[in-house]
């Protein structure tokens, strides 16, 4: 067989690409629904039109994005069986449960509420319609929890025992699976990171309109709101990330060693911001280092001992037999740095933005707005490289310590079949990405539709509060 038709390699590329692609849409869905729900709450409570404008504008962006999240999500569930059927056989008894719970507890609710929210503006009382978007936010967040609990099992298998006769892992404690320490840290980390991305999208849209001098009332509110939310969410990301790091050292020490490319077990280990070394990473030519920080990140003790790759590799060979148990070091090393660096950069931009807009000031320099607009993708890229780090750092395992990735691939699927699906997904995803991006940009640039002409008393009311005829708000496909 031709080497590039290797079903394992192609299946890995396909899973990686389709999952990252799916995750292009997930953070904006999770984050934006919460922020839109806040705008809508403000609208219902104050009847100020600017909040309706913000709800509708960012609600529209949310929906364009949501559609992509839904359709690419089905692929995710199918792929476990399609491309990783031996993995599914091995872990299905454990892994299937959180997925089925996600469906019954979260997806049904989410799918009901999305329809009610889109089409319910004129059919539901305002407060019920508001409750619908909060239920939508709840279900989206809940689904994130279950899928992260499933993923946490792959990082740190708990709550199971191996049935030797059937050759599979069997669930023994669903509570342990759902309270996996990796999931408990990963969940807030992911949710806060998602809120960061939604917040900077709001900042970017606001910055665009403010730089054009339009929709000032709405966009000033949106700008400050987005900046503050982004900084608060960053604090959440940092704290939960710290927790996740500690858990990782305990459950997957190799991943932390690979994150730093630390070959020798070291006490008081330094953290390198940048390293230039030989391509295999085994010897370094130049680096910028902060002393003791790696030890502190790993153990919360500046003199703590961090296990190195060489020791872990030797230890795993004793435990699991001959083999290479090291992830690809340059991938884990750089993805870990880019994740942290980009996340911090996004927060820094917001902090500067808060300073520039303090006390009602409006920046006049064009570049300030440009920075705000162009930094929108930064937290998203940070999330994506974070996932690359998490999943590549787990290699060569598909379930850490239990099953190797190469043993999980579907035995009945040929390399050619995977190649066909990989090409098909790439083409349709690529085309849809272009369409989706254009639609979001257009919606953002168009700005909010003005509802004041439909409001009952917009002229008479100087605080901008007004009622709007619900029939006018109806959505029709």
């Amino acid at each position: 067989m031709v080497e590039w038709l290797d079903p394992l390699l192609l299946a890995r590329w396909q899973f990686g690409l389709t999952t990252l692609y799916h995750f292009l849409f997930v953070p904006l869905t999770i984050g934006m629904v919460i922020l839109v729900a806040i705008f809508q709450t403000a609208w219902v409570r104050t009847a100020k039109l600017k909040y309706l404008h913000l709800t509708r504008l960012f609600g529209k962006i949310f929906l364009i994005n949501f559609a992509m999240g839904v359709v690419t999500g089905i692929v995710q569930e199918f792929q476990f069986g399609m491309n990783w059927s031996d993995y599914s056989r091995f872990v299905g008894d454990v892994f299937g449960a959180p997925l089925a719970m996600e469906g019954l507890l979260a997806f049904f609710l989410e799918a009901s509420m999305i329809g009610l929210w889109i089409f319910g503006w004129d059919k539901l009382p305002a407060k019920v319609h508001l409750a619908v978007i909060w239920l939508l936010a709840l279900s989206t967040t809940l689904s994130a929890y279950f899928i992260l609990a499933a993923n946490a099992f792959m990082q740190n298998p708990v709550g199971f025992e191996i049935n030797e006769e059937l050759g599979r892992a069997e669930l023994t404690d669903i509570g342990a699976v759902l309270t996996n320490p990796v999931a408990l840290a990963q969940f807030p980390h992911t949710i806060f990171a998602s809120i960061m991305f939604a917040a900077v999208v709001i900042v970017a849209v606001a910055a665009y309109h403010l730089s054009k001098g339009q929709y000032l009332d709405e966009m000033r509110t949106a700008l400050r709101f987005g900046l503050i939310v982004n900084i608060v969410a960053f604090i959440g990301v940092a704290l939960s990330g710290d927790q996740l790091g500690l858990v990782m050292v305990q459950t997957q020490p190799m991943k932390m060693a690979a994150a730093e490319a630390l070959y020798q077990t070291t006490a008081g280990a330094s953290f390198s911001i940048f390293t230039w070394g030989t391509p295999d990473g085994s010897s370094e030519l130049f680096s910028i280092r902060i002393p003791y920080v790696l030890s502190f990140l790993s153990t919360h003790d500046f003199m703590g001992t961090v296990e190195g790759i060489n020791d872990l590799q030797a230890q795993y060979q004793v435990e699991f037999g001959p083999g290479d148990y090291t992830p690809i070091i340059w991938v884990t090393y750089w993805s870990f740095r880019w994740m942290i660096g980009l996340g911090a950069l996004a927060a820094l931009v917001s902090a500067v933005g808060l300073w520039l807009t303090r006390g009602g000031r409006t920046p006049t320099r064009d570049w300030v707005w440009k920075v705000a607009i162009w930094s929108a993708p930064v937290p998203l890229v940070a999330s994506l490289v974070g996932w690359i780090f998490t999943e590549m750092g787990r290699q060569p395992w598909i379930v850490f310590g239990l099953m190797l990735t190469e043993d999980g691939v579907s035995p009945g699927v040929t390399g050619l079949e995977v190649l066909i699906s990989l090409i098909a997904f790439t083409l349709i995803y690529g085309a849809l990405a272009v369409v989706e991006f254009k639609l979001i940009v257009r919606a953002a640039v168009d700005g909010p539709k003005d509802w004041s002409k439909y409001s009952e008393n917009a002229d008479s009311d100087d605080d901008g509060s007004a009622g709007v005829d619900p029939a006018r708000l109806a959505t029709v496909y």
């Binding site: 559609a67 199918f78 059927s85 299937g96 089925a100 009901s112 069997e170 066909i420």
Partner: protein, 338 residues
């Protein structure tokens, strides 16, 4: 292992839910070129399923996840084995799903035609392939001793499989046309009523052939009476639905077709029982309810989740349909999109 039999039933009910609900979505999508005279008609039809298509499609996700949780070996063999067929279904569902939302966001005629086309194709392909897949499951496929399907996509396109595909295609088509009649008004509603009578007749002929063939294939199974009972009830409901259409009674026609699809899936499950994926190579390689199931503990956990959640899920799904109970008329479609 008694819970495994319960879960065979639960998974079956979930697929019934999926085929009934997303079935008429597919039908509405496939019927667009047959029923809609202009863009307003197309928008009326799309709006009949607009608030619910995502909810209906979610039944597939939940059914798939339940299959994974309750019958991991069935899930693994089916999804690995029917790889290319499922790929086509996925691509179709992707194309259809984005089109509902994105169609309205462009103003040019070309943009709308493009997404209309994706809705039609994206509805037709799954409507056909689900039937092909399920017909092959009950007929049995080449499964080796490791539980791996060793055939190709083209082996699935055998006469019985294709007849199964045609059956679901026509059932869903007619159901969608009936749904259009039920949810619209005026000329569109009248056209839908007339089309349901014509397509219903074809559906009866094809579905009857499929059911008879299925019965003949399974004549020797011990519980043949159950299979024949479900199949006969499905046939009666299907004919009843057609008669109701002729009499212009939209509601009974729609509900009898719902019963038809449910009973047809029930007869498929009866034909399978106690296998879930019979092997044509050697019956010893067949996946059965017992050897494909999860452990007793997992099934117990899942049963509790299902017992607690199902009433709640049905309640708010029912409420969603109730909120959108009104017929969609041409007057309710604004002239300019927004």
């Amino acid at each position: 292992m008694d819970l495994a039999y319960l879960w065979f039933g639960i998974v079956g009910v979930m697929f019934i839910g999926y085929f009934v609900l997303d079935g008429f979505d597919f039908g509405v999508g496939m019927a667009l070129p047959f029923l809609a005279k202009d863009d307003t008609d197309r928008r009326v039809m799309i709006n009949t399923i607009g608030p619910v298509w995502d909810l209906n499609e979610t039944w597939l996700i939940v059914a798939g996840a339940s299959l994974f949780a309750a019958f991991p070996y069935w899930y693994a063999t089916l999804f690995d084995g029917f790889y290319l067929a499922l790929l086509l279904i996925l691509l179709a569902l992707i194309a259809r799903g984005v089109s509902f939302e994105y169609r309205r966001l462009g103003k040019s005629e070309k943009w709308k035609r493009w997404f209309d086309g994706m809705i039609v194709v994206g509805s037709t392909v799954p409507a056909l392939l689900w039937g092909v897949a399920f017909a092959n499951i009950i007929q049995g496929v080449a499964i080796d001793e490791t539980g791996t399907y060793v055939g190709t996509l083209f082996d699935l396109l055998n006469p019985y499989g294709l007849l199964g595909g045609l059956t679901t295609l026509l059932l869903f088509f007619t159901h969608g046309v009936q749904f259009t009649a039920l949810k619209t008004d005026g000329e569109l509603r009248e056209r839908a009523q007339a089309l349901a009578v014509r397509s219903g007749l074809l559906t009866i002929v094809v579905a009857a052939a499929f059911l008879v063939w299925t019965i003949i294939q399974h004549w020797t199974v011990p519980h043949i009476a159950v299979l024949v009972g479900f199949a006969a009830a499905a046939a009666v409901a299907l004919i009843g639905s057609w008669v109701a259409n002729r009499l212009g009674r939209e509601k009974p026609a729609f509900w009898l077709m719902t019963a038809t699809i449910g009973l047809a899936v029930a007869s498929i499950l009866a034909a399978l029982f106690p296998n879930v994926m019979p092997s044509t190579i050697d019956p010893a390689f067949s996946l059965t309810i017992e050897n494909a199931a999860s452990s007793a503990y997992t099934l117990e956990v899942m049963t509790w989740v299902a017992v607690v959640m199902t009433p709640l899920v049905l309640l708010y799904q029912g409420w969603t349909y109730w909120v959108f109970r009104r017929r969609i008329t041409r007057d309710s479609i604004p002239v300019a999109a927004h």
